[in-house]
Symmetry: C2
Subunit: 299 residues, 2 copies
């Protein structure tokens, strides 16, 4: 089955202590879509400006991403620029130019409305709602978010949570949302807000799933070199959804392995700027690291 992915499609200018890269392909939907494309067909829903480089459309197409839902709008593409500190953990936003994303509304083509697997990647919760409003009984809906929406659109986000199956957020966002620093206490509170599955991401420390069948501690694939972590969380959830959409059996029987595949796909993302590394790998490279991760964690 295919995965419908809505989120931001952006140009990212990323500065690290070692290099500076202007106008890379970025955005939550771009990272998630490329990651998911290793496992299943992807339908991308987003909006870009007239300045969006043709080479990035070609990149999507090389990954067989269905662009019927990608709107090319009058104006400029959403542009984010940020800078990482030496330890690569702290980043600060240098500039955010919303461009076409300010008025973008994700209208779904008819062919997209029956999608079974829906990933509401990080974007304004009101737009995540708008996508769900157009869907016909999807099987599994995952939503990601970011601290910005907790700050400026919390009521919208809280109304979204009962509408989705799985909520993915990082540890500091979980802390911000629940005021609980213990992960189990935080997970419990988030379940009460609606989602049956909750995943808290902990960056290089992996992630934890809370599901009807219990908890799962998902390791991160340990990196020998960290180049640029931008988009790693989107790659994680994209890889996970791509794997789930084509795996046989129930969500419960596949979600742990799906997280492992997401984790490994995210590891490649961190090894290059933007999507530079992820777009150079093949499914076999992912399988190799999954096997390695099995060995690394076996006891």
């Amino acid at each position: 089955m295919s995965v419908l992915i809505v989120g931001t499609t952006a140009l990212d200018s990323i500065k690290t202590p070692k290099a500076e890269n202007p106008r890379l392909l970025g955005g939550s939907a771009s990272h998630a879509a490329v990651a998911a494309s290793f496992f299943s067909p992807v339908k991308l829903v987003g909006g870009v400006g007239e300045d969006f480089p043709r080479k990035y459309l070609d990149l999507y197409r090389r990954h067989k991403i269905d662009l019927t839902g990608l709107q090319i709008l009058p104006g400029k593409t959403f542009h984010w620029s940020g800078e990482y500190e030496l330890n690569m953990n702290n980043r600060r936003t240098l500039a955010t130019e919303l461009g076409v994303i300010e008025t973008f509304s994700p209208t779904l083509p008819e062919s997209h409305r029956k999608s079974q697997f829906v990933l509401l990647a990080n974007i304004a919760p009101s737009l995540q709602h708008h996508v769900l409003d157009q869907m016909q009984r999807p099987k599994f809906v995952v939503a990601d978010t970011m601290d910005l929406w907790l700050n400026i659109a919390l009521p919208d986000l809280l109304k979204l949570l009962p509408r989705i199956d799985c909520f993915v957020l990082n540890d500091s966002e979980a802390d911000q949302l629940t005021k609980e620093d213990n992960v189990f206490a935080a997970l419990k509170k988030i379940h009460k807000l609606g989602p049956k599955y909750v995943i808290i991401k902990k960056g290089s420390h992996g992630s934890i799933l809370s599901a009807p069948q219990g908890f799962f501690i998902c390791p991160a694939y340990p990196l020998h070199t960290l180049c640029d972590p931008t988009g790693a969380g989107d790659s994680f959830v994209g890889g996970m959804m791509g794997y789930l959409a084509t795996a046989r059996g129930s969500i419960d029987s596949n979600i742990r392995r799906a997280m492992i595949y997401g984790s490994v796909t995210a590891s490649f993302c961190c090894e290059g700027f933007g999507l530079n590394r992820t777009t150079k790998i093949k499914r076999a490279d992912i399988e190799k690291r999954v096997k390695e991760l099995e060995k690394l964690t076996k006891f």
Copy 2:
């Protein structure tokens, strides 16, 4: 087989945002010895003052810890007092009264010199050397340390590393020692200093082993409540050594599982002040959590 454990035997006064506990049994050797005692007989080597409470000697004895090597010296027991911040990650030392530990020298009884498994728990590297000087061909020697010795006794520590099989340190100490923030780069540099096995502890994020057979990512048992992390690292290495000393087969075939047992033993340590919780559990409680950890990490 038994484990010989040398380290500090102390009284700890521990303050957290929730409670204050004066003069608990503490010190690296106390935590490590109690942890190891669930798996194998333990020979404790340390020094306490005349003020050392009788109830703590009884506590050691209840855990069948051989106290032949525990010297009761004229003067006061080493006393550490510290305070944890609200997030329980940062702690600051309020007072350190060395007492008898200032002049203590670990002289081994004849019966201890042929021990096969030796844990040089955290104490001055010169004293760790002194213990090794008295040993006859031990099979497996593990040393732990702390940032203090990196600061004030680095030459002694560097001379110790080629004499041991396994070096255990935490991530910030590894960073301080190697100036490498990537864990693989740090592990590589530490191997060059001597030890065949290196374990970097990452607190609630588990630990990583680098061994001749490869790396192992060891998860931490996730805690629902964190009371006091003092001694968790000592409990980890103590539990690991206790398990190794009685496991059949080679070090290589047992060390991963030994780390899991150490990790679980440390989880109990964190659930009470000092040794309050660890001294109330049984081997069966550890086995139960090991099984849980297997379930939590299976994919």
